[in-house]
Symmetry: C2
């Protein structure tokens, strides 16, 4: 392998594949990037066994190609070296006894390579009819749900996002069993089969760091044990979590004994201030109590002090309610409800609190109350 | 104590004193802020026994004063509460059994207070003739030297900056015994006595976070066991380190066997790239070797690879040199030499490397070589 390329072009693509390089030192080959120079151009690949990333630079963006071939080299070192080279033409050349030279007029690096044969086969295949979604829409979908994912490895299925497709509806759900967030969107065409998979949330977060252009579309290719995203010059694969996701459809009631309307911003600020006098040991508990058209939010840490916040509300019935919940979970949920007014839907102090936009049901937030009264 | 004040005015001053609140939980009183409302205005004070900060809001910036008095309250809670309140009028009122109310139209906080008598006396006194220095100049002085301070507590004097005044010269020196940075500046008036003190570097870093305005002057009041800085509405005290600072004046020779001139930016980038193939276990060692008008910088990690960088140089003699040093120390030193061309002054491969601007000697950087050849 021998070629010359502009530093900034190589760097752009190293910025993508570096995110697939393992940061653990378990298998040295997973700390590597594979470069394959073919007649089409240069492929860059990385995998940590959780995700795999492949990106492509076509020949017309390569200054000079002398010999085709493949090499496997430490990802972190290659990345840092190219990053610190001047914005100039970089020569990369494989030399005998598995070494590469990386040179510019004043710099000359000599890096040891790993065996090309040891690098895992990435198995990046494609479906004939992928699901196609706009990048911005996909980002919103994930951002509005992923925060509710569990971080506890004791129930692996809850560390992922449940991703369900049926006809022209795509629904994502995440829950840690104390709160839940679920979002439905319409897709352009009916998808030919029913899909129900669980994608690891941390892999989806890595994927979203690669998005460059809100207006572009992503192709989503779904398989039994993996999901593949294709966009711009990038192919991104994530493994799936095996297991059955809990049936969350029955958790969200259709009828409520009381619906409270409130300005989202005022409510958020009041909860945020009240949360100052809560602590984690006490599950960040705060109380909400309605009194006519006013809600009182209160909390206290006995050694420090207490707080009361007043917020104007509108209720659909005369009924009053006292309910307690985690201020942290409430703030997380409020942060993704992008609207002016929200509905807090209640069925008494022991039943789930449902939050949603006043004008549509596409995003549903559920928080379990805490028994204190 | 009972008064009303604009949230943003109180917040500006809490932003200063919060930096003096202890983050350790050893003595709860050191986690507090003292507020004293007097006929002149409101004083805010904090101390962690290392530093003390006092700031002042004059009566004309206070909306309403009803009762004078003092309170001592948890700094972190007061800070966070005021920070999250809307930009509105905040009422603060001391109530019986050592509590304060903090209220706005919709929020009502009730905080427990500590005993005013337990709060340490800050002893913030002033000299008749302080040293006066421009903020920007003082910042440069500290930034160009402090990085060379030792972080090891085994020799306490080296964790501070040696601060020396004689006539109209102020000299700051820092060293960790492997490298040294020393800067001299002229002050406007002759200072009446000779000063030789050691200020803890971490305290000076806290002081510099309070600087708002490069053009303003700082008054420096020097005492036996403390140094006090006065600027804008702020008084900042730091304890001094007791002990004798090593005599560094003899370390810097007047004559050199070879002086190498180099473009600072090119040299920095070459060292920065070469440093990629060094490691801490090996003291980040890189080698420099002159060959006529070229210097070769090189380093290697046997398992990974090696690097050679070429840089154009000018020498004052025909002599060639091979010398090794820590790339980290070299980069730190180069970062503060604000110029285009520097002089690397050498006396053989085993003697200190001296770096300075070509056109003035006010800033001197010293790095000990590493014996490798």
């Amino acid at each position: 392998m021998k070629f010359e390329i502009k530093q900034e072009i190589l760097m752009e693509h190293l910025n993508y594949v570096i995110k697939g390089v393992s940061s653990k030192n378990l298998r040295p080959i997973l700390n590597c990037i594979k470069l394959s120079l073919t007649d089409d151009g240069l492929y860059l690949m990385s995998t940590d066994n959780e995700i795999a990333i492949k990106t492509f630079i076509p020949t017309e963006k390569i200054e000079k190609i002398e010999t085709l071939g493949s090499i496997v080299v430490s990802g972190r070192y290659l990345f840092e070296i190219i990053r610190k080279l001047p914005n100039d033409i970089v020569k990369i050349e494989e030399v005998i006894d598995s070494k590469i030279f990386i040179t510019t007029p004043n710099s000359s690096f000599n890096l040891n390579c790993n065996s090309v044969n040891e690098f895992p086969d990435l198995e990046l295949e494609f479906n004939k009819n992928p699901l196609v979604i706009n990048q911005r829409l996909f980002k919103t979908l994930i951002n509005q749900t992923s925060f509710a994912t569990s971080t506890q490895e004791s129930r692996p299925v809850l560390t992922g996002i449940s991703f369900n497709v049926e006809n022209n509806l795509l629904e994502c759900t995440a829950t840690d069993s104390y709160r839940l967030s679920s979002k439905k969107i319409e897709i352009n065409e009916n998808y030919p089969e029913k899909v129900s998979i669980i994608i690891p949330t941390k892999n989806i977060s890595e994927l979203m760091k690669l998005f460059n252009n809100d207006e572009d579309d992503i192709e989503i290719h779904i398989f039994n044990n993996k999901i593949i995203f294709k966009f711009e010059s990038i192919v991104f694969m994530s493994r799936l979590i095996s297991g059955t996701y809990p049936d969350t459809s029955k958790l969200i009631p259709n009828e409520f004994s009381l619906i409270v309307k409130v300005n989202l911003d005022n409510f958020y600020r009041a909860i945020d201030r009240a949360s100052l006098l809560t602590n984690e040991a006490d599950k960040n508990t705060i109380k909400l109590e309605t009194k006519g058209n006013i809600a009182i939010v209160s909390s206290n840490i006995p050694e420090i002090g207490n707080v009361e916040e007043k917020i104007e509300i509108e209720k659909d019935k005369e009924e009053e309610i006292k309910i307690a919940f985690s201020s942290k979970f409430m703030l997380d949920a409020l942060r993704v409800l992008e609207t002016n007014e929200i509905e807090i839907c209640l069925n008494g102090e022991l039943k789930p609190i449902i939050l949603k936009n006043c004008d549509n049901n596409s995003l549903i937030e559920l928080i379990l109350p805490i028994r204190t009264f």
